[in-house]
């Protein structure tokens, strides 16, 4: 489903040049659950952002369902992203001014679903995430665990083929964290491809494969026995 070849990402500021990703070759099959690990600043998030088409690489190739997308324009990337990719962030990234319902509804709005369809889908996913009773609340009124459930709900409401999760349990206590990991595992069991960046070895245990990143390189790949 996802493939990168000689992926390089260099950040340049006025005086400093930082190589965040250096020659990353990676392949992720459909239905896989992959965890990316590594120390802070090793390029995990950069890789995730590039895989999620939020950012362009400096050089190299990315294949999304066999199409080369590295040189896609912003518009093309947006189009591809909103139909296929869901995001879960460490800090949830919910919009404070919108209610739980409205936050989850947002991606459907951008996909131009009708109001009736949106309602149906949002309620469905909120029920599934067991957060429907909070649909009128605003993010500030929820606990961290509840907020992340909303964020996951928002990521899956469009039924994406790929979910990218950036330290989804980083801001949560262990109980809530486990809860969110169970949700992701369930989604994966239903066929969604998941790529997750994490510091937590426990969380990474849930994945099929763990990729270790160091200074922008892939150092090891370990495949979990299924």
């Amino acid at each position: 489903m996802l493939k990168t070849k000689k992926l390089i990402k260099i950040f340049r500021s006025d005086e400093i040049e930082t190589t965040a990703l250096n020659n990353v070759n990676l392949e992720i099959a459909e239905g896989e659950f992959v965890a990316i690990m590594g120390p802070s600043g090793c390029g995990k998030s950069t890789l995730l952002n590039i895989l999620g088409l939020l950012d362009n690489p400096t050089s190299g190739e990315i294949y999304f369902n066999d199409s080369e997308v590295a040189n896609y324009s912003e518009r093309q990337r947006t189009k591809l992203r909103k139909a296929n990719v869901g995001f879960v962030f460490q800090s949830f990234n919910l919009i404070d001014e919108l209610s739980v319902y409205e936050n989850v509804e947002l991606p459907l709005l951008y996909l131009k679903y009708s109001a009736a369809e949106r309602k149906k889908k949002v309620l469905e996913v909120l029920e599934y995430m067991q957060i429907a009773h909070r649909q009128k609340h605003f993010p500030q009124q929820l606990s961290g665990g509840q907020q992340q459930r909303v964020a996951v709900a928002r990521a899956v409401v469009t039924n994406p083929k790929l979910i990218l999760a950036d330290e989804p349990t980083g801001n949560l206590d262990s109980v809530n964290g486990e809860d969110v990991m169970d949700l992701l595992t369930q989604l994966n069991n239903q066929g969604t491809t998941i790529v997750m960046v994490t510091h937590s070895a426990t969380d990474a245990e849930k994945a099929h494969r763990i990729i270790q990143l160091f200074d922008g390189h892939i150092v090891t790949e370990s495949i979990k026995r299924v």
Binding site: T46, L54, D55, E74, T78, N93, L106, P107
Partner: protein, 804 residues
């Protein structure tokens, strides 16, 4: 601590250069325009107050009201002044009459110098007691005691005598009256409703005409000086009785007189036969109001920009708080900074004044000086306003900034920005509403000005030359002069008239019979020579022009008149043809109506169309007197060659008298000088207000961008396209614009309709004007917002999502 504050303030000033420039310049523009409006207003309000006795000087105005006729004159009959003084010695200390034959062209000659002088007056010697004259040469006490002596202004002395002492020298007035210079006085200041240049005593007038005893002719400006501690109301109470006792039988029933305070004349008097054209207090108030709005809008901007500025300093404030700074110290820091900004703005404003005042003088034709700041405490008041504005901004921003927390700054920043956004919205709404009202007013006033200048007046004023010929040999030899002119192939037609057509007229008493009743009425009248109707292209509704031959050379000719449709209706002739051959009776006997013409405006369009009699002047001594302006209609554009031809002909009749050339259309446009001035102010001020408001929008959008960077990042990650994000930004401003329009449209409509009450004739306010005004602001705003929104929308999503 103060040193630390000033250091930070100084560094921030340069660190955020553009922000500082916009902030200081915006407020400075507000201050400087308000300063100009204040200087101008103080000067306008101080008219005539330079006279020592100004508080006790009054002018007598004269009102005639009968049926639908209401005439108010600045002038009064010759005998009135002395009669008043004799009748009420307990109130009146002194009286002066001023007279100039209602003629602004008096030929003055000395050796080889000869000019037409506008400000030549006959006056009672008491003028030197009532008004202030600062004598440079001569003895003020008896300067006007003898007949045929004159006192002259310093500039007249310099014009005719240069460096030489003019005392005892003789100048020649109107080609026949030598007068000896007995004194030189300093020029009157610009802030005077009258500017005397040459004054001779009334005793000299009686060499020209016998002393007029009639109460029916009102050509004198009469001023009285009240005794000290006298109440003018007590004197006025006696006026009805006075009128009954002295006024002519023919008018006493319908006449009243009243007092006008000298210092009120310039701004409050708009009567017939004013000595010079006055201004209106309304214009001063409009000007002051608009400049206050401008100041207010620039101040709102100052607030907005300061708040935006403070948000960029959350980190600094929180560190100060962690290090132990109290709320109070933080407030004083922002207070000192804002004060510094307002003082800098004030200084920049003073600098701007130096640049703007010459422009102001150039475009308005008025004269104000930066030294005017020192009059009426303008400078101190403006400095105080600047400080007060700075203080409020400083304390407001300080309180706001001191509420910044010391932790979780990123999250707080967004919450803060969204709270601020609401008050920012209101400030922007106020700015928009003011801008819109002003812009609509600008468009409508401009349209009105065009309407005033281009309206069909009922006669063709284009390509018409108006040459004053009063008291010249040309008036005496009019027919001969005309016969040469008319041979020039470029000249279409020639006539003459006794007043400037479309600006002025006289009145005459007429008797007529309506519904079997004998009636008497004063009707506006123009006295003309042959071909008047033809020369000015006036439309005849019935009858004909004056018939040649019947009046031209015969002393006892039949008197013919042409009336306008308004008069025909007033006389009861609904069918204009039925008015023909009917008669009115004047003191000259029967006057036969030979034609009825379409209404035309005999005065500026501030006034409604009135009834009008056009009377043909007979070729006798009256005709010379009535032939005051030569009217020459050209076939095409007026060429220099033809003017040269007219001037040569003129010189052959009166070699020493300069020919004054007036284009009739330009002369009539001058009646709208006040509207021109207002139009100028409206344009300049509205452009400035819009510029300043745009700065405000700019500030608010940048604030909004800070607030929304993360939200936009999330939305983009979720698949929002750039147009969708743009729409998000524009939505807020569009709703403000809609509300501003909802307020501004009815408000401006009400104001403008009130404004139109100053005009008997006015343009219509079309809905397109509202649309144009709204569109201009809409496009400008959306332009600014779009520019910012695109910047945010195109910014790196990854950076936006990164936790702070």
């Amino acid at each position: 601590m103060l040193k630390n504050f000033l250091k930070i303030a100084y560094r921030n000033l340069f660190k955020y250069k553009y922000y500082s420039i916009i902030n200081i310049l915006g407020f400075a523009i507000g201050i400087s325009t308000f300063a100009i409006a204040s200087i101008f207003s103080v000067e306008e309000l101080s008219y005539d107050s330079f006279h020592n006795k100004a508080e006790r000087i009054y002018r007598i105005a004269n009102v005639y009201e009968k049926d639908s006729t209401l005439n108010k004159y600045a002038t009064s009959p010759f005998p009135l002044g002395n009669a008043l003084k004799n009748e009420y010695p307990q109130f009146i200390q002194n009286v002066v009459r001023i007279f100039n034959f209602q003629n602004n062209y008096h030929l003055v000659e000395y050796h080889d110098k000869h000019y037409n002088e506008k400000n030549f007056f006959y006056a009672d010697p008491s003028i030197l007691d009532i008004f202030d004259f600062d004598f440079i040469l001569g003895n003020k006490a008896n300067a006007l005691a003898e007949p045929n002596t004159v006192i002259i202004s310093e500039s007249i002395k310099n014009k005719y005598f240069g460096k030489f002492n003019p005392l005892g020298k003789e100048i020649l007035i109107n080609e026949g009256f030598p007068m000896t210079v007995a004194g030189v006085f300093k020029d009157y200041p610009a802030e005077s409703h009258v500017h005397f240049d040459i004054i001779t005593s009334f005793s000299s007038l009686y060499y020209v005409i016998p002393e007029p005893k009639t109460w029916l002719w009102s050509p004198c400006w009469t001023y009285i000086l009240l005794k000290e501690n006298t109440n003018s109301n007590n004197l006025e109470k006696n006026f009805p009785e006075f009128v009954k006792k002295y006024f002519d039988e023919a008018v006493k029933e319908n006449s009243t007189i009243f007092l006008q305070k000298l210092t009120d004349i310039h701004l409050k008097s708009d009567l017939e036969s004013e000595i010079e054209r006055n201004s209106k207090s309304l214009y001063i108030y409009i000007l002051l109001t608009i400049s206050l709005f401008l100041l207010f809008v620039s101040w709102l901007n100052f607030i907005n920009l300061s708040i935006v500025g403070s948000i960029t300093r959350i980190r600094e404030v929180s560190i100060r708080k962690i290090l132990g700074s109290s709320k109070r110290t933080i407030i004083s820091q922002f207070f000192i900074e804002a004060l510094l900004f307002s003082i800098l703005s004030f200084l920049v404003a003073m600098f701007l004044l130096e640049i703007l005042i010459p422009f102001f003088n150039y475009f308005t034709g008025r004269y104000i000086a930066i030294s005017g700041l020192l009059r009426g405490g303008v400078l101190i008041k403006i400095f105080f306003i600047a400080l007060l504005a700075g203080t409020i901004v400083g304390i407001y921003t300080g309180i706001y900034a001191s509420s910044f927390p010391t932790f979780n700054l990123g999250r707080f920043k967004h919450k803060l920005a969204s709270k601020k956004w609401f008050s920012g919205k209101i400030l922007i709404l106020i700015q928009y509403t003011i801008s819109l009202v002003l812009l609509i007013a600008v468009f409508v006033n401009f349209k009105q000005l065009i309407y005033l200048k281009n309206s069909k007046l009922g006669f063709d004023e284009k390509n018409v030359l108006l040459i004053p010929v009063v008291n010249t040999p040309i008036a005496e030899n009019y027919e001969a002069f005309k016969s040469v002119l008319i041979k020039n192939p470029e000249i279409k037609s020639v006539s003459a008239v006794n007043h400037i057509i479309g600006a002025d007229r006289a009145y005459r008493r007429y008797f007529y019979i309506k519904d079997g009743m004998k009636k008497v009425q004063f009707f506006p009248e123009l006295i003309v020579r042959h071909d008047f109707i033809k020369t000015l292209g006036i439309d005849l509704l019935a009858g004909s022009d004056f018939r040649k031959g019947s009046t031209e050379n015969v002393e006892s000719a039949r008197n013919e008149i042409i009336i306008n449709e308004s008069l025909a209706k007033q006389l009861g002739f609904n069918n204009y043809h039925s008015a023909l051959r009917k008669k009115l009776v004047s003191f000259k006997g029967d006057e036969h109506i030979v034609g009825v013409i379409l209404n035309f405006n005999t005065r500026s369009l501030h006034n409604p169309v009135s009834p009008l009699v056009i009377r043909l002047s007979n070729n006798n001594s009256d005709a010379t007197e009535d032939t005051k302006f030569l009217v020459i209609k050209f076939k095409n554009r007026i060429s220099k060659k033809t003017i040269k031809f007219v001037n040569q002909l003129w010189k052959s009749y009166t070699p020493n008298r300069p020919m004054e050339i007036n284009l009739l259309d330009k002369l009539l446009d001058k009646q709208y000088e006040n509207e021109d001035l207002l139009n100028f102010f409206l344009w300049v001020f509205s452009i400035l207000i819009i510029i300043i408001s745009s700065m405000g929008v700019w500030a608010i959008t940048s604030l909004l961008s800070i607030q929304r960077t993360k939200e936009i990042g999330i939305r983009k990650a979720l698949g929002a396209s750039i147009p969708e994000i743009l729409r998000l930004f524009l939505k807020d401003f569009t709703s403000i614009l809609i509300i501003a329009n909802l307020v501004a449209w009815p408000v401006s409509w009400l104001i403008l309709n009130q404004w139109f009450k100053n005009f008997a004739h006015h343009t219509v306010i079309e809905w397109q004007i509202y649309v144009y005004a709204s569109l201009s602001i809409l496009i400008l705003t959306l332009g600014i917002v779009t520019k910012h929104a695109l910047k945010v929308a195109n910014s790196n999503t990854v950076n936006a999502l990164r936790d702070e």
